[in-house]
């Protein structure tokens, strides 16, 4: 039993920290700290900085231009980035599509698409969910019918995060309608500029158009854009979902959020004293901090297992469930910490600030926005209800 990081990992952490000090523009970290939305250009700017250092794709093997980090190194990078308030790396190309192409893609697909993910030429989005399907992903209906050297795609995807910025989408489509719902699904790469594609932003309750509906109307996709074998897409989809689950606990985000919360609570004055000295509020902070200390160790225990070659099992469902609770608690306390100024949130779905300067602490508007936005944490990527069912069935055998 040894709870400390190896000297190599400690050295790596120091490197990451140094890099962030040197290369992370405070213009960006300040926006992240205040939980403001980043523009497309700002996200791309940070991707480019990371790519220059060779650190954009920590999870990719070096042969594909990745950093080839261990699970523990990735964890260290994510933790340091989050606590430095660096923008997060977009998962769509790096964490989701990349591993699928590396494992199941053709050589041409790898050579065409992987470099363009790294150099920022392509912005990918995900076409998995469909209206009415919810947690029942396998029931998808978007069809792809073979017509010569093309598939003709018809249907609708939804919850496509940041799809409004994307020029490519990876989609699950149905290429066969008989058999079990999991069978007959294929994995297609689609150029968003193909005729017949319409993107409609969906405004979320935090007032941002973070997700989109994507409509396909007789969209012709070249057959070479099929990944792997026709009708085997469910396998690739599950592989992708497993990889997406890295950093499922969000320890770094929670740690950063907790430090922001404390900073706000030190600045706010309640009944003549800093809010952080109010015993009832301080107890609420302490309770969530104690939960976070334990959850971070669960995360490390699973990382250590992964490092030892074990595939993470249903334990990661516990991590998602508890990690979500902790992050949402921190969001809730942060919103409450900014006091009456939590009301200043602009609710009309307009990106950016209110037309006049709003009063209260700088963090106020972002606190409410983040609270509302992060209600999604317990819904997407397998809702908390789905995680509980997985735990009950796979761990407990109920």
């Amino acid at each position: 039993m040894d709870m400390s990081f190896s000297p190599e990992d400690q050295q790596f952490r120091a490197e990451v920290r140094q890099f962030l000090v040197e290369r992370l523009p405070s213009r960006l970290s300040e926006k992240v700290r205040l939980q403001q939305e980043l523009t497309k250009a700002e996200i791309e700017e940070w991707h480019a900085v990371l790519n220059e250092r060779g650190w954009l794709a920590g999870n990719w093997p070096k042969e594909f231009g990745g950093a080839g980090w261990t699970a523990i190194q990735r964890h260290i990078f994510e933790e340091e980035s989050a606590t430095a308030f660096a923008p997060r790396v977009l998962p769509f190309g790096i964490a989701m599509l990349g591993p699928v192409l590396q494992k199941f893609g053709s050589k041409e697909q790898q050579e065409t698409f992987l470099p363009r993910i790294l150099n920022g030429q392509d912005w990918w989005c995900q076409g998995y969910s469909e209206p009415g399907a919810g947690s029942d992903l396998a029931s998808l209906k978007t069809s792809a019918v073979r017509d010569g050297e093309h598939y003709v795609v018809n249907g609708q995807k939804t919850w496509t995060t940041l799809g409004q910025h994307a020029n490519w989408i990876f989609c699950l489509v149905r290429t066969r309608t008989d058999g079990k719902p999991q069978e007959g699904i294929s994995f297609l790469l689609i150029d968003m500029n193909t005729p017949g594609i319409t993107v409609r932003p969906i405004m979320l309750l935090d007032g941002t158009p973070e997700v989109n509906e994507v409509f396909f109307d007789d969209v012709r996709v070249p057959v070479e854009n099929l990944v792997g074998t026709e009708n085997e897409g469910w396998t690739y989809a599950k592989y992708l979902l497993t990889h997406e689950r890295t950093n499922i606990a969000g320890v770094g985000f929670a740690t950063a959020g907790l430090s922001s919360l404390k900073r706000i609570a030190r600045g706010q004055v309640a009944n003549g004293k800093p809010l952080i000295e109010n015993p009832v509020f301080a107890a609420r902070i302490a309770e969530v901090e104690i939960e976070l200390m334990a959850m971070a160790t669960t995360n490390l225990r699973l990382l250590a297992q992964a490092a030892a070659g074990q595939v993470p099992g249903a334990e990661s469902s516990m991590l998602k469930l508890k990690g979500t609770q902790i992050r949402q608690s921190i969001n809730d306390l942060t919103r409450r910490a900014v006091g009456p100024w939590a009301l200043t949130f602009p609710s009309e779905g307009i990106e950016g600030a209110n037309e006049n300067t709003v009063p209260g602490p700088d963090e106020a508007a972002g606190a409410t926005r983040a609270y509302l936005n992060n209600r999604k944490l317990s819904i997407y990527g397998g809702s908390s209800e789905v995680q509980r069912s997985i735990i009950a069935k796979q761990i407990l055998g109920l």
């Binding site: 706010q268 309640a270 006091g339 100024w341 939590a342 009301l343 200043t344 809702s383």
Partner: protein, 332 residues
């Protein structure tokens, strides 16, 4: 002991609900007498009791109406009536004038410390989060030595306004040697503030009822894995817990309504606001969760309910603020 409304109160509630379904303008509300129902007969209205406030605001909350009734009538007309300004109170209650009440000051959170000072009939100070400030014809302003009435067009008065999350607007109010008329001492504010807290809680109760109905309907109609998600026992039990909490909120609102003019009013204000704020947050979070993705979207009706519930917790002091007030009052 009787937990029912008068026939008049019930009729007003019903007609409000019908009208709000097609017309949510302040004028429509005023035409129905919703403003006058919030003022006592002695002050030119025909209501003003806790039960009247409960009925009107619960209905507004259910219908998700944005109205000037809270700021201009319950608070504004409420203070004016107590100050002996019956004419102005009556005008506010029918929407002829718009009153904003400026109490909080920057950096003070919920504790209401006042730094605004009056010198020779001129007010100087800063007020924050003044709801309805930008459209007010009259402002009621707390100063160190009492309560003042300020004309909305007075010299030295600046209002910078911004949107609020519940759809209303508020403003930062700066007073620089602004002419003002003293209308009474600070104790004037106690009953109108308590009444406003009742109004916010009743509004939240209506919004929680709307959220619960919406969610129950969704659970009945939405199908997943081949059956309505409302047939899954885990969701049934969570929904049962949620309506049990709303029942608690309902009783808390009744408690405050019933004790609004009793000597233990402050204790009930603290208890009710603390409990309703806490339950409002939980209802907001759980109803989104029980909906899943659709509950996250702005175009679905739940979004505005959720923001209204969060705003209700925040206005006039959140659940923790009132929990501590309750502790202080219990220790006394």
């Amino acid at each position: 002991m009787q937990f029912t409304f008068t026939e008049e109160q019930t009729m007003l509630g019903d007609s409000l609900l019908r009208t709000l379904a097609r017309d949510k303008t302040p004028a429509a509300l005023m035409d129905l007498g919703a403003g006058a129902a919030l003022l006592s007969e002695a002050d030119g209205g025909f209501g003003g009791t806790g039960a009247d406030i409960l009925m009107v605001f619960r209905t507004l909350g259910r219908a998700l109406a944005v109205s000037p009734l809270l700021d201009s009538v319950v608070l504004g007309a409420g203070v004016l009536a107590l100050a002996g300004e019956g004419d102005l109170a009556e005008q506010a209650s029918v929407g002829a004038i718009q009153v904003a009440v400026a109490l909080d000051e920057p950096g003070q959170r919920y504790d209401g410390t006042v730094g605004t000072v009056a010198r020779g009939g001129l007010l100087t100070g800063e007020k924050t989060m003044v709801s309805g400030a930008d459209t007010a014809t009259h402002l009621i302003v707390s100063a160190t030595d009492g309560v003042y009435l300020v004309d909305g067009a007075a010299q030295g008065l600046t209002v910078t306004s911004y949107r609020l999350m519940d759809g209303g607007r508020a403003g930062e109010v700066r007073l620089a040697d602004t002419p003002a008329r003293r209308i009474g001492d600070l104790t004037l504010l106690a009953r109108p503030t308590a009444a406003a807290i009742l109004a916010v809680c009743a509004d939240a109760l209506g919004a929680m009822e709307a959220a619960a109905e919406l969610t129950t309907d969704y659970l009945k109609t939405r199908k997943q894995f081949g059956r309505p998600i409302g047939s899954f026992q885990a969701l049934q039990h969570r929904m049962a817990d949620l309506v049990t909490e709303i029942e608690q909120a309902r009783s808390a609102v009744w408690n405050l309504a019933g004790h609004l003019d009793d000597e233990d009013r402050d204790r009930h204000v603290a208890a009710t606001k603390s409990l309703v704020g806490k339950i409002a947050r939980r209802v907001a979070e759980e109803t989104v969760q029980l909906h899943g993705g659709i509950g996250m979207t702005e175009e679905y009706e739940l979004a505005s309910i959720v923001r209204r519930l969060l705003a209700a917790d925040t206005r006039f002091g959140d659940s923790d603020h009132h929990l501590e007030r309750f502790m202080a009052l219990s220790a006394a």
